[in-house]
């Protein structure tokens, strides 16, 4: 009985993994094949010639490097906006029992109730009025708005996972509320906060719709790729897909490392 359950569970896991991994494999395969191999029919499921030619072609085509640079600036700026705004809110939700805490919690999630498509048009109009349309700042503001609910709620639960008594002990040992936070709470919450920051990076890196709406001549990498996709050749699409895919996957592995095993114990 138990054995049958185990077998069933593993089969399900393998099917699910294959379901997600197969397209990723195809993209990777395409990105590292020669241009000719991509067009061969039937499709070769095993690469015969590993080649960096396709990726090189993508990286050096017009617009890739500038939009990559913009994407990196946007995600840095997104973090620089979302974390300083979100962390204090998260700490307040975790530690203080103030009037309207519940409402705040709900309204934080509520911002995600509106589809980005509804928000993007009026926001684009506002950005034009503020003279920041088609800029890194505009995209970052939008991405920060998308990431904030996530930052506030996950970090609030990370902070409430750190015992209040540790903070109080620090205060009886000579700390102010601020130094107690800096010396005790922050180091203990750091793995979780880092994981949360990486998620913000992934949100910003992957986001295409808002970025495509508020930019025109200065798109981020996903916006750029989406814009040229219709005219692009198959190798270009594979290479672009691979390029967008890799950083989030790598970072998700980092998150796992951060969340487990700091100071010999799991910090929830």
């Amino acid at each position: 009985m138990k054995r049958a359950q185990t077998v069933g569970l593993y089969t399900l896991a393998i099917v699910l993994a294959a379901w997600t991994l197969f397209p990723i494999y195809l993209i990777t395969l395409g990105a590292f094949s020669t241009q000719d191999a991509i067009y061969t029919y039937p499709l070769q499921l095993w690469p015969h010639h590993v080649s960096q030619h396709t990726l090189g072609f993508f990286i050096h085509s017009a617009g890739t490097l500038p939009s990559l640079q913009r994407s990196v600036y946007v995600l840095l700026l997104t973090m620089a906006i979302a974390l300083p705004v979100g962390l204090p809110a998260a700490y307040a939700l975790a530690r203080f029992n103030f009037h309207g805490a519940h409402t705040l919690r709900l309204s934080v999630v509520g911002t995600r109730a509106f589809p980005i498509i509804i928000l993007a048009i009026p926001l684009a109009a506002s950005f034009i009025r503020w003279w920041i349309d088609d800029s890194i700042l505009a995209v970052s503001l939008l991405h920060a708005a998308l990431a904030l609910p996530f930052v506030v709620l996950t970090c609030a639960s990370i902070f409430s996972g750190v015992s209040v008594e540790l903070e109080e002990a620090a205060m009886t040992l000579g700390c102010t509320r601020l130094t107690a936070f800096a010396r005790v709470i922050l180091p203990l919450a750091l793995p979780g906060l880092a994981a949360s920051a990486i998620f913000v990076v992934i949100i910003s890196w992957n986001e295409v719709f808002a970025a495509a709406t508020v930019t025109l001549l200065h798109p981020t990498l996903p916006a750029h790729i989406v814009a040229v996709l219709n005219q692009a050749t198959l190798p270009y699409r594979f290479a672009g897909g691979f390029f967008l895919l890799v950083p989030p996957v790598v970072m998700l592995f980092f998150i796992r490392r951060f969340l487990f095993g700091m100071w010999g114990q799991v910090i929830k």
């Binding site: 015992s163 008594e165 540790l166 109080e168 002990a169 620090a170 205060m171 009886t172 040992l173 000579g174 700390c175 102010t176 130094t179 005790v184 180091p187 203990l188 700091m262 100071w263 010999g264 114990q265 910090i267």
Partner: protein, 364 residues
């Protein structure tokens, strides 16, 4: 070292009054235990003294200073928490040194102080370890070491032994008492464990429903509880309380209790009212034969406890617990005759549960 004074402290949480008009004076170098059931306000009172809760009204003095509005770090207190609150991201050494670093002590002083307190608590070999790598009992020692390292005026302890297993708790109780006696620091110790309170404190402040109901030496709290609550809460088994009346007609005052009577010498203020007779289990002796002045009782159960036997017997409408030598073991259903030691009887008003003027208690 400093004395501590609470003056008319009141603290509410919403509609709940946690601490209700508490006055308490703790002398310099004194060890006072706040004892009471959970929810009685003892931990809240301690946290008010630490500055972790703000009082609604009243003043707190530490030494000559009015500390009511000071933040915790300016009160010159240190505290041992129930969960120990040892910082998990610091080694034992860094934990103990934490308060000293905040005091901006020199490295030499810190090193010397960390070594001396860790020696006192027997954790010198653990200094390089992280809290996750040591046992609960060792973490408890680290918490105490960290608290005494900063040489505060007042040491606060919030149920520090309650997370230890029974054997370790007894060991640590004795060790802690000796250590704190040597240090001579004014200590306020919160517990719900009356054995701990009796064995450790110079004085015990018994709390119930946000109020201090009695402050006395352990022996006085045990032998002369101020009301039925204290008699019930302190001591194992709890004090016996039997419905009684005192009658003065005829030869002299007699007590009518548990279906029998016995004579007493004087009855000032006791006659003709509903009373409770309070008596400890070991202040009753058991006779096998009836005689004048003995109360008849039927044995319900006998519990051998090694050093003595605990008899539960029914006298009239009341159950009585009697502590007898371990060779006295009547069978359930047997009749026994009880003698109440007159000097150890406490008289309480039946309705209020308060002790009446206690003539046997001179000089306290």
């Amino acid at each position: 070292m400093a004395e501590v004074r609470f003056e008319a402290i009141r603290k509410t949480f919403g509609h709940v009054t946690a601490v209700d008009d508490v006055d308490l004076h703790v002398a310099e170098a004194e060890f006072v235990v706040l004892l009471g059931p959970s929810g009685c306000g003892k931990t809240t009172l301690l946290r008010c003294l630490a500055g972790l809760e703000r009082v609604d009204s009243g003043r707190i003095f530490i030494g000559e200073r009015d500390a009511t509005d000071l933040p915790p770090r300016r009160r010159r207190i240190s505290m041992v928490f129930q969960s120990y609150a040892v910082f998990p991201h610091m080694t034992v050494r860094e934990n103990i040194a934490f308060g000293l670093r905040r005091q901006k002590q020199s490295d030499a002083v810190i090193k010397e102080r960390v070594e001396s307190v860790s020696g006192l608590l027997g954790i010198t070999e653990l200094l390089a370890r992280y809290p996750a790598q040591i046992s609960g009992g060792q973490r408890q020692r680290v918490a105490v070491a960290r608290a005494i390292a900063i040489r505060s005026d007042v040491l606060l302890m919030d149920e520090p032994l309650s997370n230890l297993d029974a054997l370790l708790r007894m060991q640590m109780r004795a060790e802690l008492k000796a250590l704190l006696h040597d240090l001579g620091t004014t200590t306020i110790y919160v517990t719900h464990d009356q054995t701990e309170a009796l064995s450790m404190g110079d004085r015990i402040a018994v709390m119930n429903q946000g109020r201090i109901v009695q402050v006395d030496t352990p022996l006085a709290v045990y032998e002369h509880p101020s009301d039925k609550f204290v008699g019930d809460f302190v001591g194992t088994p709890p004090m016996n309380f039997l419905a009684a009346r005192v009658e003065t007609n005829g030869t002299g005052p007699t007590v009518r209790v548990g279906g029998g009577t016995f004579a007493i010498e004087q009855s000032d203020g006791l006659a003709n009212r509903d009373l409770l007779l309070g008596i400890r289990a070991e202040a009753i002796t058991v006779e096998a034969e009836p005689a004048d002045g003995l109360i008849k009782a039927g044995v319900v159960v006998v519990e051998p406890l090694g050093s003595h036997n605990l008899i539960t017997a029914r006298a009239g409408g009341d159950l009585v617990k009697i502590s007898v030598p371990n060779h006295v073991s009547p069978e359930p259903g047997d009749d026994i005759w009880l003698r109440f030691r007159l000097g150890q009887i406490r008289w309480l008003d039946r309705e209020s549960g308060k002790v009446l003027a206690d003539s046997s208690r001179s000089g306290v």
